[in-house]
């Protein structure tokens, strides 16, 4: 798990982003992807948009960060509670070994604590049935990889204000 903040404010001309920067608002995004290069890329894209980023390389790690690993565990620790309350958005890759992005999405949307947090699913493959089932399960958006800066600006405007 890695968490990092951006050090400088973004120079994007989008008005909603300017507002966020002037108010010092740094949304915290949890980005889940098993691919090392893609994790580095999504982290940079998010930092360029003044987001704080935590990356996870698989679903289990993401759930652990959020304190959702054991659904029946009432005794999640302070750190996990605080992680949960700080996360403003989750971006997850669809194709991951072990727990897929779809399975992770389901677990998040079925948890009482995290179901309100927007989840965006990304994939390198444009498969309509895949897209539909993610949207039906409550994903706010499905996007194609590789992501561009304009995609992240859109996400920030829609879900992190």
């Amino acid at each position: 798990m890695e968490t990092s903040s951006s050090s400088s404010s973004s120079s994007s001309s989008s008005s909603c982003m300017k507002w966020s920067c002037e108010n010092g608002y740094q949304p915290h995004v949890l980005a889940v992807d098993d691919n090392l290069v893609d994790r580095k890329l999504v982290e940079k894209l998010l930092k360029n948009s003044s987001c704080k980023v935590t990356t996870a390389e698989n679903g289990a790690s993401a759930l652990e960060f959020l304190g959702l690993l054991d659904e029946h565990n009432q005794h999640t620790n302070f750190e996990e509670c605080s992680n949960r309350s700080k996360v403003n958005m989750i971006i997850t890759d669809y194709c991951m070994p072990g727990m897929s992005g779809y399975e992770l999405l389901k677990k998040i949307k079925r948890s009482s604590m995290m179901k309100e947090v927007p989840v965006v699913v990304v994939s390198s493959e444009n498969v309509p049935t895949r897209i539909n089932k993610c949207l039906e399960e409550g994903a706010e958006m499905f996007m194609l990889k590789p992501l561009k800066q304009s995609d992240v600006v859109k996400l920030k405007c829609h879900f992190m204000n």
């Binding site: 951006s6 050090s7 400088s8 098993d34 691919n35 090392l36 290069v37 893609d38 580095k40 890329l41 940079k44 894209l45 360029n48 194709c95 070994p97 390198s124 990889k145 590789p146 561009k148 800066q149």
Partner: protein, 154 residues
């Protein structure tokens, strides 16, 4: 060598990389992400890619050395390599990955092995090309010049 000449050589070299399909527009998107706060971003991502691809190519070679080839495992590795090559704009590498996935589906060992050989070649080629490009950029900057914007040269 004077800066103007170095810059012109850089432009010609960059154009050739795109014309010969070594790189595609995703590489330009990567360049847009780099800023003064993180001037080594592209070099870092590209290095990550080559470390990762070396590991994946070794895993693929080992998978085909087995008496029974586990095509699901092979497909998993190729999927990873396809993803990361696509993310940095290494078009030729990505295209060979796409071809290899079809052969995997057909469980065609010969086809897969040909692709694996091609993957090793293409990865090596694009690595050399990018190393040359980065070296030219360092020389331009050391001479006090700046790197032209890739977007503007097309």
């Amino acid at each position: 060598m004077e800066v103007g000449l170095m810059q012109r050589q850089w432009v010609d070299y960059t154009k050739s990389l795109f014309l010969e399909d070594f790189l595609d527009s995703q590489f330009i998107e990567l360049q847009k992400l780099q800023d003064e706060g993180n001037p080594d971003f592209i070099v870092e991502v590209v290095s990550l890619f080559f470390e990762d691809s070396e590991r994946l190519l070794n895993d693929l070679t080992a998978a085909f050395d087995q008496p029974d080839v586990d095509f699901q495992k092979v497909d998993g590795h190729v999927h990873q390599l396809k993803g990361s090559s696509s993310s940095i704009g290494a078009q030729r590498v990505k295209n060979v990955c796409i071809a290899m996935r079809s052969f995997c589906e057909e469980q065609n060992i010969d086809g897969c092995l040909r692709c694996l050989q091609q993957l090793k070649q293409e990865t090596c080629l694009v690595k050399n090309k990018l190393e040359n490009l980065f070296r030219m950029e360092q020389q331009i900057m050391a001479a006090g010049g700046s790197i032209p914007s890739t977007e503007l040269i097309f």
